[in-house]
């Protein structure tokens, strides 16, 4: 679903994700591939959930404490009717069980029917058992629908990632040494060294660690190291309680390395239809973030002109002020973790792509707050939209799904 020709990744990354068919890798899989169900469970968010949720609530409390507009009076919570609750919950349990076995059945097929998987996922995937992790990888196209190919593809892809990392993070002198070793062993075995798509330029003799020349391999290395260090710092302070990042993990190193490679590729695919939003030079182009923000305004205008006018002209709450974060982070800062998972089920299973569903959900978020927004002024509305309240997610997603939308301008041709 993301193979839409809009994929504009740097060559290196493009090479990494654009399928497994482009370059045959040598020294085929000495790397043990774990049975996917088992290994994928590592990334199943349940383990991570607790810490993250706690923190999310902590921050919410912090905000709500002082936010004294009478939220409850306006609360648009619409819980499903629960009269005769005993019966309903039994039915819910049965429905959840059925859904689980549906997904399990689908994922166990030799050839997985993506259409069907998409339909199931759009109603929300069951938690636990690594089902969501596998389903998302399929929906993102990271795993192919042919079960038999998984092991081979995963091995190859993880190797590509390891090479990319080596390329970017080894110091030029280390890199040269590694390359020389490789060349010697290649010569011994009568093969030619071929770094494939990730081949990097050799270090010229005039190059050295203090070089400030832009083309200097050392200059690049220091830049990359700086970024890597920033990422490490950010991960630690963003998820201080997540063992996975803190290095005290009980996961075997291999599992961690594999999970890292898989996450990277999934991440690249996840952002492939919105990668232009992150490119500063494209901010004012038709594919940049500002255009997407105006498309959100258009979508709102189409579906509720009154609310659109109120936001746009009366209170002048521009989408830049609130939806920039909604869109660039795929709503991950707006809801609790469990809700985010449910929302992403819908994003990833949308046949018209992640961005299409994302804009619908953003628009639905505005519509679901209509009465509060209409009675609010600039400050109140901005506070509301920057701290989006708890809401029934199933209801929100139904509103998003039912929007009348001319998606032709931004839907992806399949």
């Amino acid at each position: 679903m993301l193979k839409n020709g809009k994929l504009k990744l740097p060559d290196k990354l493009g090479g990494l994700v654009s399928g497994f068919d482009d370059k045959e890798m040598k020294n085929g899989g000495s790397d043990p591939v774990l049975e996917s169900g088992e290994e994928l469970e590592i990334m199943e968010p349940n383990g991570i959930e607790l810490g993250h949720k706690e923190n999310a609530y902590e921050f919410d409390d912090l905000v709500n404490d002082t936010d004294v507009d009478n939220e409850d009076a306006f609360r648009t919570r619409k819980r499903p009717d629960k009269d005769g609750s005993g019966q309903v919950s039994v039915m819910e349990v049965i429905a959840a069980d059925e859904k689980r076995s549906d997904v399990e059945y689908e994922l166990s097929q030799k050839e997985i029917n993506l259409e069907k998987l998409r339909r199931i996922a759009s109603m929300g995937l069951p938690d636990g058992g690594g089902l969501r992790a596998t389903a998302w990888k399929l929906l993102l196209g990271y795993l192919s629908p042919s079960h038999d190919l998984w092991e081979k593809e995963l091995t190859e892809n993880r190797q590509k990632y390891a090479m990319l990392k080596e390329e970017l993070l080894l110091s030029p002198s280390e890199y040269t040494r590694v390359k020389e070793d490789a060349m010697i062993s290649a010569e011994l075995s009568g093969e030619h060294d071929d770094a494939g798509p990730l081949k990097r330029q050799g270090i010229s003799h005039g190059d050295h660690p203090l070089s400030i020349v832009k083309a200097s391999a050392w200059h690049h290395y220091f830049k990359h190291t700086e970024i890597a260090e920033q990422i490490d710092r950010d991960l630690l302070r963003t998820h201080p309680d997540m063992k996975f990042f803190s290095g005290e993990s009980s996961f075997s190193k291999k599992n961690r390395v594999n999970a890292e490679a898989d996450s990277f590729s999934c991440f690249v695919r996840l952002l492939s239809d919105s990668v232009d939003h992150f490119c500063q030079q494209l901010d004012n182009s038709p594919v940049g973030i500002l255009s997407t923000l105006s498309r959100l305004a258009e979508l709102l205008k189409e579906n509720d002109e009154e609310l659109w006018k109120h936001l746009e002209f009366t209170t002048k709450v521009k989408p830049q002020f609130y939806a920039f974060r909604w869109i660039t982070l795929l709503l991950t800062q707006e809801f609790n973790f469990q809700s985010i998972l449910r929302i992403w089920d819908s994003l990833l299973s949308n046949p018209f792509g992640i961005q299409d569903m994302l804009l619908r959900i953003c628009c639905a978020m505005l519509l679901c707050m209509k009465s509060r927004l209409l009675s609010g002024d600039f400050a109140a509305n901005l506070r509301l939209l920057q701290h989006y309240p708890d809401i029934n997610i199933e209801h929100l997603l139904r509103v998003a799904q039912d929007l009348s939308a001319d998606t032709s301008s931004y839907s992806l041709s399949l």
């Binding site: 923190n55 902590e58 921050f59 912090l62 905000v63 404490d65 002082t66 710092r233 950010d234 302070r237 963003t238 201080p240 992150f278 500063q280 901010d283 973030i289 500002l290 209170t315 002048k316 521009k318 830049q320 002020f321 920039f324 974060r325 660039t328 982070l329 800062q333 609010g376 002024d377 600039f378 400050a379 109140a380 901005l382 506070r383 920057q386």
Partner: protein, 214 residues
């Protein structure tokens, strides 16, 4: 008591990623500090009401993202600002060095081009609590020198974590913004009108109370 004029002041907080801009705001507005770090994307918006002498002031504080990526989108937030707060981390040299860029960028995008030196800036040196001050790399003297070179910018050393000097620093922000506001009142009148629709309700309540107290 002169409550006839109330002020709505727009304040922009700028500085490198991770220097504590959001924590300073949270400490000032909510009196809370969270260890949990959450990167600001775009800009967060908070308001704080306070009284200066006999004037009711509403600060609209825009806590911006420190990432370079967001700078080109910053102008939407900078427009109509009454005061700009620059923040650096006293333990990180680079966050001090980039103050020049933040200062320049803001002047370029928001200050009155006829008199860029007149725009009210203020500098906060944050995280002075870290390791009891032993990991500090930018001295107070250095920071004050920089402030002097930029037209005597007021300087405060703060700790968002301990709540040290935060209230005092923002009070200074409000006073500076208020002074500046008199000078370019008219230019912004229209813009403020829009915002004023918003707070008119809460303000009038206070106004009545103020009236009673007299």
């Amino acid at each position: 008591m002169d409550m006839s004029r109330r002020a709505l002041l727009k304040v922009i907080v700028l500085g490198d990623i991770g220097v504590g801009k959001t924590s300073l705001m949270n400490q000032y507005v909510y009196k809370k500090f969270s260890q949990q770090y959450k990167s600001t994307i775009g800009a967060d918006f908070v308001t704080k009401e306070l009284q200066i002498d006999d004037k009711l002031v509403t600060l609209q504080i825009w806590d911006t993202a420190g990432q370079e990526r967001f700078q080109s989108l910053g102008s939407a937030f900078y427009r109509g600002a009454d005061c700009c707060v620059l923040v650096y981390d006293v333990n990180i040299q680079k966050s001090f060095e980039t103050l020049n860029n933040w200062h320049e960028e803001f002047v370029k995008q928001a200050a009155d081009p006829a008199d860029p030196g007149a725009f009210p800036f203020i500098l906060f040196g944050n995280k002075i609590d870290v390791d009891g001050g032993s990991s500090r790399v930018v001295s107070e003297k250095k920071a004050r020198e920089w402030c002097a070179s930029r037209g005597d910018i007021p300087y405060f050393e703060t700790s968002a974590k301990e709540g040290y000097n935060v209230h005092e620093a923002f009070l200074c922000v409000a006073k500076m913004a208020l002074e500046g506001e008199h000078e370019h009142e008219q230019e912004h009148e229209q813009e403020h009108d829009i915002y004023f629709q918003g707070i008119s309700e809460t303000v009038s309540e206070v106004e009545q109370r103020g009236g009673c107290a007299c």
